[in-house]
């Protein structure tokens, strides 16, 4: 009960409020609203998986990593290779075989993104600790080089990433057709979110991360090596971006080397809305961005990205440090 007493619940109401506000704009069509809402939640959960590592990286070490999109692109391209090599499994009518193929693609993408993340932290980020301008320039440069290397390995063209058989099609609920993959993405996103929240709230490592985001100097004064913690968070954040890359590639059903750079803006909007360093805030931010992108994409497609910038501005007018600002920062 103390948890509830201490938790500010108002930001939690933003997500249902946005959904309710969109309802009359859809002409009160239940099926359209439900389809767009599920699509928005699915997109939001994928963006949360992308953004959750980045927000902790910023919170822990004040590192602005504009190269985060590289890990997303890498994950998506690894998925094309793994799922392409397992086409017999993905085209099988057996959903178990489909699931194994997707899980395999996710596991390999996470491993590759984690390994590249480790090297990225060591050679690109570490030399520019505490220097924000250099961080922006060098991490962007790292992403551009990474994209070029992806073109060398996979080619510059768009590659199709067909969905496994079991995830194709839609589930009908009344007049609403909800794509199976979107439900799957929401499920994966919820599992990742639950695992993250469990680690952050129930383990000592999680406690150290949360404390480090607030006051890393004090964590070091208690005898903990925050640099090691940061490397760990950076690597896990990269792996999660790789996982999100697989999910985003399947969501789009195709991948390009710029796939990561294209979502970078959305990720930064999410972590700014959420409050830099706040995982709970990133969940809210990602769901808001996902819903807003889908609602606006339907109502006024040309305003889709602009609408999220307006959303961010509106949130910042209400809470200049994001919906859940981290204390002591």
């Amino acid at each position: 009960m103390n948890f509830l007493k201490d938790t500010d619940v108002r930001p939690l109401l933003l997500v249902p409020a946005l959904g309710l506000m969109a309802w009359p704009l859809m002409g009160a069509s239940w099926s359209t609203w439900l389809t767009l809402t599920v699509a928005g939640l699915a997109m939001g959960m994928i963006i949360f998986v992308m953004a959750s590592g980045l927000t902790l990286v910023f919170g822990l070490m004040d590192v602005l990593n504009f190269g985060h999109g590289l890990f997303i692109a890498l994950g998506a391209f690894v998925a094309t290779t793994v799922l392409g090599g397992m086409s017999a499994w993905t085209e099988s009518a057996d959903w178990g075989a489909n699931l194994i193929a997707v899980l395999m693609a996710m596991a390999v993408a996470m491993a590759v993104a984690a390994a590249v993340g480790l090297a990225f932290e060591r050679f690109i980020v570490r030399p520019v600790y505490g220097q924000h301008l250099k961080q922006i320039l060098i991490t962007m440069g790292g992403m551009i080089i990474g994209e070029e290397l992806i073109k060398v390995m996979w080619g510059p063209q768009q590659i199709a990433l067909p969905m496994p058989e079991a995830l194709r099609g839609a589930v009908l609920w009344g007049d609403a057709a909800i794509e199976k993959y979107r439900l799957f993405a929401v499920g994966v996103g919820l599992v990742v979110m639950a695992a993250q929240l469990w680690v952050l709230s129930r383990t000592k490592v999680g406690l150290l991360i949360r404390a480090g985001v607030q006051d890393r100097e004090m964590v070091e004064s208690l005898g903990y090596r925050i640099r090691l913690l940061f490397v760990g968070v950076f690597v896990v954040g990269s792996a999660l971006a790789g996982l999100a890359g697989v999910m985003w590639g399947l969501y789009q059903q195709s991948v390009t080397p710029q796939i990561g750079a294209q979502v970078n803006v959305l990720i930064f909007i999410v972590i700014i809305i959420g409050g830099l360093g706040s995982t709970g805030g990133a969940v809210i931010g990602a769901l808001l961005v996902g819903l807003m992108a889908n609602y606006t994409g339907y109502l006024a497609p040309k305003l889709a990205l602009f609408s999220n910038i307006v959303l961010m501005a509106a949130v910042l007018l209400w809470r200049p440090q994001g919906v859940y600002p981290v204390a002591n920062r």
Partner: protein
């Protein structure tokens, strides 16, 4: 005087272009409470931060229990069994009181692995810690936050406790409570280095004293001799104890 646990010899510290410490010599005897006094801005906090490795000494030598710790990083220094309470208390406001305490207990992964007897002792000294155990630390009052900062430093046995202005901003009743806590800590045998502006506080607790001025220690001796010499107090601190 007992053997020194902590010793600073000719320590200089620069922060950016500013030269703050100009050769600090300081001895903290084992098992005693040493007060570090001085006017505002003479380098007391910088001295503590330099000991903890939060700012690097540009010159000089710091030894702890005979080991040279001058160039060690902050976690390594803390792991030598030194607890530090900074001036801003360093409370993790988004964490609960319990989580703050679990974090300070380096050898415990959760509450069940914490030393129960020690926890009882802390609850006895600071009942507010037990009362607000599951509450957000950010919601505590200033005095309660200082109690939490002290409790964190005491949650596991440490050889040296370094505390920066523990009475700052506390109500008089709370200051008495804090004095009592330090007396009991002293009785437990822990060595303490305290920076303090509250002279009543300093007089009640200090065994030895060092007075700083302009980035160096200008007087070191027993607290009793400083208390007994009003002229010296005026010349060093600008006021009498």
């Amino acid at each position: 005087m007992s053997a020194p646990l902590l010793k600073l010899e000719g320590v200089h510290t620069h922060i950016g272009v500013y030269h703050i410490l100009h050769g600090v010599d300081l001895v903290v005897p084992r098992g005693q409470l040493t007060m570090l006094l001085g006017r505002n801005g003479v380098g007391k906090t910088t001295t503590l931060r330099t000991i903890m490795g939060l700012w690097a000494a540009s010159q000089g030598r710091i030894t702890f229990a005979g080991d040279n710790i001058t160039s060690l990083n902050t976690p390594s220094i803390a792991q030598k069994s030194i607890a530090y309470v900074p001036e801003n208390m360093g409370i993790f406001a988004d964490l609960t009181v319990k989580e703050n305490m679990v974090l300070a207990a380096r050898h415990a992964r959760n509450q069940s692995q914490m030393d129960e007897q020690r926890l009882e002792w802390i609850f006895e000294l600071f009942p507010a810690i037990q009362k607000f155990w599951n509450h957000s630390a950010g919601k505590l009052s200033g005095g309660q936050k200082q109690m939490l900062a002290m409790s964190r430093a005491m949650v596991e046995p440490r050889d040296l406790l370094i505390v920066d202005e523990p009475s700052k901003g506390l109500a008089p009743a709370m200051v008495d409570n804090m004095i009592d806590a330090f007396k009991r800590l002293k009785d437990s045998g822990v060595t303490i280095l305290l920076v303090e502006q509250n002279l009543h506080f300093a007089q009640q607790l200090g065994d030895t004293v060092a007075v700083m001025d302009d980035g160096r220690v200008v007087y070191a001796g027993s607290m009793q001799s400083l208390t007994d010499d009003e002229k010296l107090q005026h010349s060093l601190l600008g006021l009498a104890l």
